[in-house]
């Protein structure tokens, strides 16, 4: 099957699922009686509506091509970093480092992908930005909680720019027998991460009893984690035909994505709560902020990227 045909099948499948989900949401909306249930159904329906928008944005970006895909991920990094910095106590002395993070680091990181310069892409933020940002901050001569401020900016940039950019960097890989189809691999990664989130939520709502992390993330349950994780992994295996992997390899890759995604959600939830909030923002209706949506992606992307790069290219 050529890349285009796979893309159409994939979009057809996703569209089918969305239509089905919207129908179910509509029927539940008609049948709901109690106030408490109504709130849950409304939240579900606004999530489904947001899904339509997200899928449309992705489909259009992939349809247009590489530049649009890079711009899309660049904007995701931009809005995620904006949320992160909003909740981080920064001072006047951080103004220049922050300006550089938003308007130099983000464009350069994605331009390096566009340019295919893997060597610099891999070290640009962990080496160059790591050293330059605190140096620039030191020039402002504001030493009040200097290490804390610098650390928090570093952390935000690593998660929202460096890690997230690894999803788009899948375009860089030269995989034998898979020419021109790398965008499908991004779609695969994003789809498994998001399905895993959704299915964990659904399984948790239906069968959730045992909390796995009551302090950090009260809504995560063992039943949701296992049920949703296994389901997402199996779907990932069944989708092997859009990837360069065999069914068994796809199963292993999907499992890695699911596990890393879960760990990402957990770690960023701890960060969020240490800042005293429940959601990162209000950008996507029903989903909290951009970072609430891509926390799992940020952890899964670099690992998925490097496994694919090491074993398949």
């Amino acid at each position: 099957m050529s890349g285009n045909i796979k893309f159409y099948w994939l979009m057809g499948g996703v569209l089918g699922i969305l239509i089905l989900a919207s129908l179910i949401g509509w029927i539940l909306h008609l049948r709901v009686r109690t106030e408490q249930r109504r709130a849950i159904i409304e939240n579900l329906n606004s999530r489904i509506r947001a899904w339509w928008v997200m899928v449309a944005v992705f489909a259009v970006a992939f349809g247009i091509g590489k530049t649009a895909t890079l711009v899309l991920f660049g904007l995701m990094s931009f809005f995620a970093l904006r949320e992160f910095i909003t909740l981080t106590p920064t001072r006047r002395g951080d103004h220049v480092p922050l300006f550089l993070s938003f308007f130099v680091l983000i464009p350069v990181q994605y331009l390096l992908i566009g340019d295919g310069w893997y060597g610099l892409f891999a070290v640009f933020i962990p080496v160059y930005a790591f050293l330059i940002l605190p140096a620039v901050a030191a020039l402002s001569a504001d030493i009040d909680s200097f290490l804390e401020r610098t650390t928090k900016i570093q952390w935000g940039v690593m998660i929202t720019v460096f890690c997230v950019s690894h999803a788009a960097a899948l375009l860089l890989l030269d995989i034998p027998g898979y020419n021109g189809q790398n965008a499908l691999l991004i779609f695969y990664l994003v789809l498994i991460v998001q399905l895993s989130d959704v299915l964990q939520y659904v399984f948790g709502r239906l069968f959730g009893r045992t909390k796995v992390a009551p302090v950090v993330s009260p809504s995560k349950t063992l039943e949701g984690l296992v049920g949703g994780g296994v389901a997402a992994t199996l779907i990932g295996a069944a989708m092997y035909w859009i990837t360069p992997f065999s069914p068994l390899q796809a199963l292993a890759m999907a499992l890695v994505i699911v596990v890393m995604g879960f760990l990402g959600g957990l770690a960023l939830s701890a960060v969020k709560r240490s800042m005293g909030v429940k959601d990162w923002g209000t950008m996507i209706e029903g989903h909290g902020g951009m970072l609430d949506r891509i926390d799992s992606l940020s952890f899964a992307s670099p690992i998925f990227f490097h496994l694919t790069r090491y074993y398949f290219s």
């Binding site: 904006r82 909003t86 006047r92 103004h95 922050l98």
Partner: protein
């Protein structure tokens, strides 16, 4: 919305979000004077972008002539993009009543965005208010006086910096300020300032 306004609107939303929170009144396009704390050059844009489209079209920021009239780009943005009312701040350049353009705008039925401190501050909370707001309130007893608190904008573009950084900022609208007959100027200005502080 003309293309310049649309561009400014998109720029403001992408940069600072400018999410409105109507804490004391429902959004309405009733003629109003919005008065707020002032910490950055993005403040005007943030309030303007937070208003609903119907009131935005009729709301004009009151801005300093010495800043916004300098250079063709600033003038173009102020007049064409924001339809600003430019006020002379420096006594030596004044001819007649400096508030004249603002009064004319209110007479036409326009709403205004006003920063009663007169200049940008560095603190989270506003400094003492100048008397312009009091005079406008006296002259136009029927116009709604809306306190507004701008949160986080002092971090987005603090005084002394030349470029803004992206941060999610909220624009909090309070309840309209009640009118008290024969209230002395100082008491009115302090009450107006307290209404902004109460939203912080």
């Amino acid at each position: 919305m003309n293309p310049v306004s649309a561009l400014l609107f998109g720029f403001t939303k992408a940069l600072v979000g400018a999410h409105p929170r109507w804490q004391g009144a429902a959004p309405s396009s009733e003629q109003s004077v919005y008065f707020a704390n002032h910490t950055s050059h993005v403040d005007t844009l943030a309030i303007w972008a937070a208003l609903n489209p119907a009131s935005r079209a009729k709301t004009r920021p009151v801005a300093a002539k010495d800043y916004w009239n300098k250079g063709p780009l600033r003038r173009y943005v102020a007049l064409r993009g924001l339809n600003a009312v430019l006020i002379e701040r420096h006594k030596e350049n004044r001819v007649g009543d400096p508030l004249e353009p603002a009064i004319a705008a209110l007479q036409q039925g326009d709403s205004l965005i006003l920063f009663p401190e007169g200049t940008r501050g560095t603190e989270r909370l506003p400094a003492a208010f100048r008397s312009g707001l009091y005079r406008l309130a006296e002259l136009f007893p029927a116009v709604r006086l809306m306190p507004v608190y701008l949160e986080n904008l002092n971090r987005a573009m603090p005084k002394g910096t030349h470029v803004p950084i992206p941060l999610i900022c909220t624009v909090r609208f309070g309840a309209p300020l009640a009118r008290i007959d024969a209230e002395p100027k100082e008491a009115f200005l302090e009450r107006a300032r307290a209404a902004v502080v109460a939203l912080a």
